[in-house]
Symmetry: C2
Subunit: 604 residues, 2 copies
């Protein structure tokens, strides 16, 4: 099993740990200290050694920040976690804040005294974030100081070791483009940006560029490393050379040299000392990187990580892999949904049994490398929590009349999947069918859309919500995120949301997952992955348009649809989708699973 | 008549005028000079004395810029004017460029020699624009220098005088909020922004704040003036006091003092010299304002013009006025459309006759102060030019089988209107009906939309295009712009377009005008004005939603609709709209006009 169901959050240990940190802060003369949920690579997920925020506060969400002063402390989380933070954290120790309503910069400026010394670990804070804290401190007459060693590491007695797992090649048959070619592209984009070199820390940028995969982070097949890339096409990868498997080493061009990870900061300083113009993405580069470049006499060129866009635009080989991965995953999902349809009405299933069965069916494909994130297996009221995480303590029985929402994904060597299906056990209420159908209409509107070049996710997002808005409903998350190719299940730079300002380009894989959540009652989400397809001429049309190809292949629960709310085009889309699912998946099913699929994919 | 149909553009005079300017540039040691289409107030429209770009090049569009060097010159226009510029300008003298494809900054950097002296009039270029030219000059090793007197004024022998027309009060019964109250609001927003004062130059900001209206600019009822506003609620208006009519003077609070316009720069310098923090909107403040503040020892606080948002959010009185103005305008439009339906099939009408008749019918309301812009009266292939301007030389006959597109508006004391109707003379082709219906579906999708707080025009824009995109079509302008209250027909900050990032807020009036243009054949545009309405609870809904109320009241040509392409909701919207038009307009029509309206507004 890749997923476990234990509650690791240790709220009760928080008071003692906070006291230890404060003593250490006092020893170092710090009046405040920032504790973000990040590591020195600034990827979305971190290894256990870097779970400093969780160790200190008990909060286990994937984003957050604590600020510790001598006599008070606060924790800042986003809308996804405002309920969870109050369950996991002792709010007498850490005042919880919504990061949007009260940004930590603002809170800090109001909470510290003039002359205060605010410490932070410059490897754990991005250049952009540091800039905001610096402004806040200046406003309060305080100083912001980067610490050389993280005070939490000094007092965290049983801090786990840093991961150093083997690093394998992502073969060209799946990567589709060699590292030599990718390095050439990056070198050109550095030259175009007026930069001599760039620093990469983001684990998925490094994995993509060097065609390597690792297991340093749970569920995301990356290795933790740093890289320096020159506009001349040279590259240094800072990682223990003995972690690199022979095939990975053999597939890298000579322009790539391996260096010990401990030498990264010195190498960066040396590079910068020659007056080098170093491209830095302030949204992802640690502040320590920016500061090192400037302190050593280098120039900073501010621009997006040059790997972001080419990584997001999957090549033909990656798309072929994605289709194969989704067919395989669709077989496992269809077997899972068929099993649910048979077993759930008998009673006796709980959320953990559901998640366990799904992982087992994916494992039976023989190709499962990992799950792409912890399965959200949410019954009844739990489905109303978009990011619900089941534990042995929380696992609910799957009751008749309840909705079951399952959001899950797999890591196969040829692709990453992410799918949500919401099913009813027994008979749905009219309310459930109304809301499900509105969500489905939004999902279909995005799936069917044709759009011109230059269209962004912000332009598309409202289409997924229109039917909900018309009824006075909405959902509080984006409609979709980018997805990697056997990489991170959340990938930039494009997304379908109010703030998705990157144009949608051919080859980008995005999720399409509108939802509806009625707190304490039920929740709905329907998610397919889509890939932006190249411009095609529409018969009789005058302009080339882009469109989406749906990758995900699994039935959508027809019992939850109110067909009267669907327009003829919605209906045509759904029937055609189900027909395709039947054609592509049924060859791989047998007996009762096959019979179920045929019924589940019949026209409305 | 407010509109004339003469071609004023004088292409043939261009060579001699260019020679005069170059001689003047040489006298002053300038290697290049920038000629924008703007005045020292940076409003959208300018008075004849400021038509320097048109005088020099012949180009009469509402936006553009020429760059003159000793041996070459170029003119930069946006997508609206790429055809027009080639007709009006001698392209052997001025190379035409699309401002998006080749920004003037970029062109300049490539065209000038190291050490060159690039002159510009700092009153005619915004702070933002100046910054871009400064960067471009620095890149080329050239210097950018503001000139004290515009060299064109030195050589333009018969330059018209600056307008100095009477300035009237906009009475409280139409403005809805007194200048004293508005000044209090602006003072609060200055304090919140950390500024001690601000400079206003935009004519509509000044007209709104001081509740005054003028006629210095054709079609837009504003007076040209400057203003300094203090965070203490004081205000100085730089305008000749003898232009102010008694009622306008009487309605202004004591905190407002009148000062001679010639004293503005000195007053600004004096204000800044005290170390004052002056709020400047770099998108609309002349570079001269920014430079004066900094040179005099003041601090610049960069923020949006504080009048923009409160001006855009019309108060209840203004909305009541808008409804009355649109009912009145709807009567004139309906009479006009009825007249067209009777007269056009007889043959003999041309584009000028159409525009003339429409203005006459508006004048017959007895309330017409001005038209809000030159009527676009475009028959057949001319309808494919979104910003077509009819002259005696261009005016086409209205032929049977041709589409006629009429985009027009009025200035009434209680509101500004802007409406486009596209009608068919005789029988439309299947293609015309298909495209018209797709445009209509987009227009209806926006009109019907409910949306939550925070939604911007960029989020809404795709809804207006979806039906066109599905067929492989699109249009190359935004879906809608803000509209003033007896002010400018184009008003910021909100707009419905890819780049409309201002949230739509209650009280904002916006146009909704998707279109379709087939070059050389025909064009379609359907335009209503909408007002964003406050949050209302939808029955059975869980969240408050905003919506649009349609202001414009005139039939949409049913002969151009392919009813098979409309969904049931489209149809319901259209029938309800026509029913409302009939109810509100028919009491004011008689005889054959009334009979026409009843037929034109019958259910589909």
């Amino acid at each position: 099993m890749f997923q476990h169901f234990d509650e690791l959050s240790q709220k009760s240990a928080s008071a003692a740990r906070l006291a230890l940190l404060r003593a250490e802060m006092a020893r170092r003369g710090l009046d405040a200290f920032l504790v973000p949920r990040s590591d020195e690579y600034q990827g979305e997920y971190v290894a256990p050694y870097a779970e400093r925020l969780s160790w200190l506060t008990g909060f286990s969400g994937s984003a957050g920040l604590a600020i510790v002063l001598a006599d008070r402390a606060a924790i800042f989380v986003d809308g996804r976690y405002t309920v969870q933070v109050r369950e996991q954290v002792d709010v007498r120790l850490f005042e919880p804040h919504d990061v949007t309503e009260e940004p930590p910069y603002q809170w800090l400026a109001g909470a510290i005294a003039e002359g205060a010394k605010v410490g932070f670990d410059p490897w754990l804070v991005t250049a952009d974030q540091a800039q905001k804290f610096r402004t806040a401190c200046a406003k309060a007459g305080a100083s912001l100081e980067g610490v050389a060693e993280n005070p939490i590491d000094a007092v965290w007695a049983d801090q786990p070791a840093r991961p150093a797992n083997p690093v394998a090649a992502q073969p060209l048959q799946f990567a589709g483009r060699s590292t030599a070619d990718k390095l050439g592209d990056i070198a050109s984009s550095l030259t175009a940006a007026g930069a001599d070199a760039t620093v990469l820390t983001m684990p998925d940028s490094i994995a993509w560029l060097f065609n390597i995969r690792g297991s340093d982070i749970t569920h995301t097949p990356v290795a933790l490393a740093y890289a320096l890339i020159g506009a001349d096409g040279s590259a240094s990868l800072f990682i223990d050379a003995d972690r690199i498997e022979e095939d990975a080493r053999a597939s890298l061009p000579e322009a790539v040299s391996f260096k010990p990870p401990g030498g990264f900061a010195a190498a960066l300083a040396e590079l910068a000392a020659a007056g080098t113009a170093v491209l830095i993405d302030p949204a992802s580069a640690p502040e320590a990187v920016r500061a090192t470049v400037l302190a050593s006499g280098g120039n900073v060129v501010t621009a997006a990580d040059p790997c972001l866009l080419p990584k997001a635009k999957k090549n033909a080989t990656e798309l072929q892999g994605a289709r194969a991965a989704h067919r395989r995953d669709g077989v496992a999902m269809s077997r899972f949904l068929a099993w649910l349809a048979r077993e759930a009405p008998k009673g006796g299933l709980d959320e953990i049994a559901v998640a366990t069965r799904l992982e087992a069916l994916r494992a039976e494909t023989g190709e499962l490398r990992e799950i792409s994130f912890d399965t959200i297996s949410a019954a009844g009221p739990h489905a109303a929590i978009p990011h619900y995480h089941v534990t042995t303590a929380s696992s609910l029985k799957v009751e008749p009349g309840a909705i079951l929402l399952v959001d899950s994904g797999a890591q196969y060597v040829d692709g990453t999947t992410d799918i949500t299906r919401t099913v009813i056990v027994g008979e749905p209420s009219a309310e459930m069918r109304d809301r499900f159908t509105r969500v489905l209409k939004g999902m279909i509107a995005v799936s069917r859309l044709r759009f011109p070049k230059g269209t962004t996710g912000a332009h598309v997002d409202a289409l997924a919500r229109q039917a909900l808005w018309a009824g006075g409903f909405d959902f509080d998350h984006g409609t979709g995120h980018g997805v990697g190719s056997y990489l991170s299940v959340h990938e930039g730079p494009a997304r379908i949301s109010r703030t998705g300002h990157t144009p949608l380009e051919p080859g980008m894989i995005l999720s399409n997952e509108p939802g509806y959540y009625k707190e304490g009652h039920f929740g709905i989400r329907i998610e397919n992955l889509l890939v932006v397809m190249p411009a095609t001429s529409i018969k009789g049309g005058e302009r080339d348009m882009l469109g989406f190809e749906t990758l995900t292949l699994a039935p959508i629960d027809r019992r939850l649809i109110d067909a009267d709310l669907l327009g003829p085009e919605d209906r045509a889309w759904l029937d055609a989708y189900h027909d395709r699912v039947a054609r592509e998946i049924s060859p791989f099913l047998e007996a009762e699973d096959l019979a179920w699929l045929e019924a589940a994919t019949a026209p409305l």
